[in-house]
Amino acid sequence: MWSTQFVVQELWLRSRRCLLSALDDAGLAPGEAAFASYMRDQGALGRSVLARLGPGLGTVEHRYLMSERMAGTANRRFARRLPFGLAFGHECGRYLRQVAGGAAVVPDLAADGAALFNVAASLFDRLTDRASEAAAVKALLPRDRLARLCGDRSEVEALRTELGALAASELRVFGAVIAELFRIAHELRAIRGDPAAWRGFVDDLLGAYDAQLATLQPDLAAPDATAISRAKSVTPFLVTAQLAALGAGTAVDPRGLAEAIGDVFWRVDDLVDLHADARTGQLNSVQLRAAGRTADRAAGHAAGHAAGRAADRAAGHAAGHAAGHAAGHADDVRTAAVAVLRSDGVEAVAAEIVAGITAVAARLAALEAPAAARSALLAWLVMYVVDWIQ
């Protein structure tokens, strides 16, 4: 019998091998040198964006963001990924703005806003993942405040003033990123004066906020947990598309394109996390597919799992829960991993990711956008898909 370690290792390798093979078969896989060069440039871009936008957060917030205290136990990973997170959002916003048409605002505020939004979304995700921090985030940024920030530019300064009373913390950095994002968004609004684009931005931003919170408090009777999970992954790309539309100042709506991009990354997420999810017992659509679950059963599993976590947290037994996972679920891990390996779930998701990229390419081809912008967006998509599975 193979040990659990070997089975999980095989899962890790297979998910990466399948996706890279599928990309290769479709003629989409970048060469090793080209990928390394692209990501090196992305890192440099992210660092320059950080140097340019960081001071706008405020001294205390900027310093904390760059410190070894930021993100606590995840500091090293956070620091390593921050430039890439900024570059990812920046380039997504820039290319969507380019394919939407229209001229850029200089500096490219849509791209800057998208860079900050990506970091804000990541911080929101991190902070709300812990019950204690989630309450503080919701207190700092309740839905009605988000709506007020959308409606009234003066709310940005009110938020900054409130942040000044907080101790230096990740929460304060998050608030500062939100404030700077809205300063930029209002700047774009003032320059472009496009009410339809602004309404779209507001609607999708509130939608992304709701989608994120929905994953924290899952409804036990939710008909489709998968849809909740998908919405959490896809809605941030819609917000980026709206920033791009604001920046482009044209009637071309890149929303459908952004949704297709979001779908790709949603699936990549599950594939990348497959071996880790097998180890920790997290919901993963590839596992569910392998287990032959229906959507309803999947929803029930997700809700039950999340409810269990919530109950544990409420009872203050998070540590016990984690220990229980470690000790009691070794057989479950093995069983789940073997089930995935015996199914064609990994291959199927890899094929869906490639199909998703092809769908993005088809949408791009249908747009009357400059060829350079279309190919740059497609290259960005493929490179980050490969980056995520590294």
């Binding site: 370690q5 070997f6 999980v8 290792q9 890790w12 390394a36 990501m39 090196r40 890192g43 660092r47 950080l50 140097a51 340019r52 936008l53 960081g54 001071p55 706008g56 957060l57 405020g58 001294t59 205390v60 900027h62 310093r63 760059m66 410190s67 070894e68 205290r69 606590g72 136990t73 995840a74 500091n75 090293r76 990973r77 620091a79 390593r80 430039p83 380019q98 001229a103 850029a104 605002v105 200089v106 500096p107 505020l109 101790a167 300063r183 930029i184 700047e187 774009l188 320059i191 472009r192 071996h275 880790a276 920790t280 998070a318 540590a319 984690a322 220990a323 350079a372 912008a373 590294q390």
Partner: protein
Amino acid sequence: MTGAGESHVGVEPAVARGLGFLAGAAREADGLWQDFQLAPGPSTDWVSGFAAVAIAGVAPGAPEAQRAIAALTRRARRAGGWGYNEHVQIDGDSTAWGLLALAEGRQVSPLTVRKALDALVRHQGDTGGFATYISPDGPPARGAFRADWFAPQPCVTAAAVMALLAHGEPPDGAAIRNAAAFLARARCAWGGWSSCWWTGPRYPTYHAALVLGWLGGLSSADRDAIARATVAAACADGGWSDRGAELGEPFATALAIRTLLLGDPDPEVDAAIRRGVRWLVAAQCADGAWRSTPMLRVPDVTEHGIAGEFADDGRCFTTATVIGALDQAGRQPRDPDASRRAGAAAAPGRAAETSR
């Protein structure tokens, strides 16, 4: 590399020269770094793990770090983990730094990681602290070593927690909670930490304060106490010494700066950081390295004749430590007015046509 440190003059070129020195040293040693001439020979795996982590933090994706990580992956012991070098049994500290290096690598086999993690947790004692060695029976330990070698140490514990966290172990899991409790208990009266392996408190204090802070075990008052004591310990020339010297030493100065950077903004602390950074920039050798001073202490093992205090004769360990500190200082804005001015300058946008 550094990004926001407009107030630290000369930091970026100094870091670049330091990286150049380390790259050259690795080329001379088949991609690994070597330092510390002790009885079993120079350290390779422990020093390379440490240096790779420092370089990856300063220059993400640097080929020197990636080559060392690949070499460490190949050199991992069959049962998991790493030792001081290939001739010495595995130890908790080398294994922790090896794991931390692997966390900076791409496409690292989870099996290698899992085995090393399993090896690492075997070094955790009942007190929650991690020891360097667990078995007095394996070579070269044959009963003549002092208990320090097998006793939990704050520096090893901090590195072990960092390694566990880097590979996804839950912060609220028993291993990490117990380690945090050990670190909290092990604090000295002045607020920092000491260790049998180091001549002074700078290395254990920085790492333990970093980790305990991550885990919520340090209050604002604790940070303040550590910062005040560190500032008070500065030498007259703006550097720090771990051996009571009148003039600063690069290794201790780098770690003191890094400790101060963990604190809340404070004019006195910020001034000490600026002085220390200036001192380090000025102290760089022509070849890009920083001079070494005895900092590694080997507790009494008279039978083997290796007791004493040792410098990293190759200067890789010191240089890796210094570039990490300078880079971290360079990332954090120190001048509120400069930061605000930069923010204001970046603020206005204007509509313009671009040449797409």
